[in-house]
């Protein structure tokens, strides 16, 4: 995967409520953890993931994702 240093994908664990909407739209970037919230799999995704990143960040009901 080509790295894109422009993105620093993060989830605020205090804000994430585990709806996992991000996992549905970007399964390569996010996964549900054992605490029923979500972890970032790839914090520096390649440019081809831009649309998934934007959609996941906007779709998250609590907007816990920054990039």
């Amino acid at each position: 995967m080509e790295k894109n240093n422009g993105y620093k994908l993060k989830i605020d664990p205090e804000i994430c409520q585990g709806t996992a909407y991000c996992v549905r739209v970007a399964p390569d970037l996010f996964r549900v953890n054992q605490g029923a919230t979500v972890d970032v799999i790839e914090p520096n995704p390649a440019p081809e993931y831009e649309e998934q990143i934007l959609e996941a960040a906007t779709l998250c009901p609590t907007r816990a994702i920054t990039y």
């Binding site: 605020d12 909407y21 549905r24 959609e55 779709l59 009901p61 609590t62 907007r63």
Partner: protein, 414 residues
Amino acid sequence: METIRDLIPPPHIEGIKHFVDFASVDEILRSKDFRQGSHQESQPFFGDSLLTIDHDVHFERRRLQAPLFRKEALEYYEHEELLPLIERALEECKEASNDTGEVRTDLCALVRTMLARISAVTTGIDGVDTQERTDAFRTYIEQLGTGATVEWSTEDHATVISRILEIREGFVEEFYAPSVERRKDLINQFRSGDLSEDDLPRDLLTLMYLHWNNNWDDELPLREATLYLVASSQTTTHAIPHLMIHLHEWFQEHPEDYEKRFNREFLKRAGHEAIRLHLPSPALLRIALRDVVLSSGVKILEGERVACLFTPANRDVKVFGEDARKFNPYRETQNVKPWGFAFGGGEHTCIGRTLVTGLSARTDNDDGTDGTLVNIAHALFNAGIELDPDDLPTYTELSHHDAYGRFPIILRNL
């Protein structure tokens, strides 16, 4: 006057289990073992809208609507729509001032006017342009809001529903139907290749007709539009009077902070406190999809309706500290959003939250927008807002909501 009141549970949630502590409410809202249980009487206005659907269907609808709340869209709404509208609304107050030159107005109506066009833009309602049309549109939103929250009305509920459905017909004829027809025409032009997708309006109604789902009924866009129109102005209209009266009291008790009335970070924190203490939706209901045992040990049976009382939960001393029931713009919260459940929780967290709080809230790590609360409060202080000492604000008697019905103000600097 009393500015922080306790929630008196309204009749429609009597006889069902109440949850008043933050942890239980949070657990229920996050859980996939519950579905929406609110808005049963207001189905004619909100039925099958984003607010009342759950799980997979909710995800798909939210995914469809999410582009309306992208960073670029929020920046556009704030800079191109909200800020000029705030200025225009204040200018109109000045023009309508009395012979003495003193500018007096009602804050509730003023805020609703400021937000009317942004509601129209995000929803896709045309023709909210002149003062007369804006007033008419604002009145429709107020009336639709009464129908959409009929569960909280102190009037006879059937009478309210019947009256507001009749008023809605006027809204459809005057604003909604022509807006839908124009969008259908534009979509037809797009499909025939005469327009590009970029030329289509970016609003709710365009999105819904562009991506029509055959499982939808013909009136669904009207109910979804009602949700957008009501919700996009309700939180801010509800919160600004509370914010102003709390800041009025705060500056009296802390005169050293008065200069901070133009400080956006201070206003932001104050705004979070106002919506934490005075929730636009003070309680929501959920229905258990299966037998559930909460962490507290409380059992909830499959099919049981439970009430999450946000007002006491947002004043839980375990989460917000010993002074949780007081307004404190310097409050620090750990592991929770500063506004608590003001925008709900779980998958039903309000899709328009960032319109109100802006994108520079601590959850977004972005400095794109300040949101309606900060921008309107800032403009009101610039305009020299003061409470009218001879005509103090009064709470509404038409609803069990913690809302002001009248809020007379003087704008000294206009």
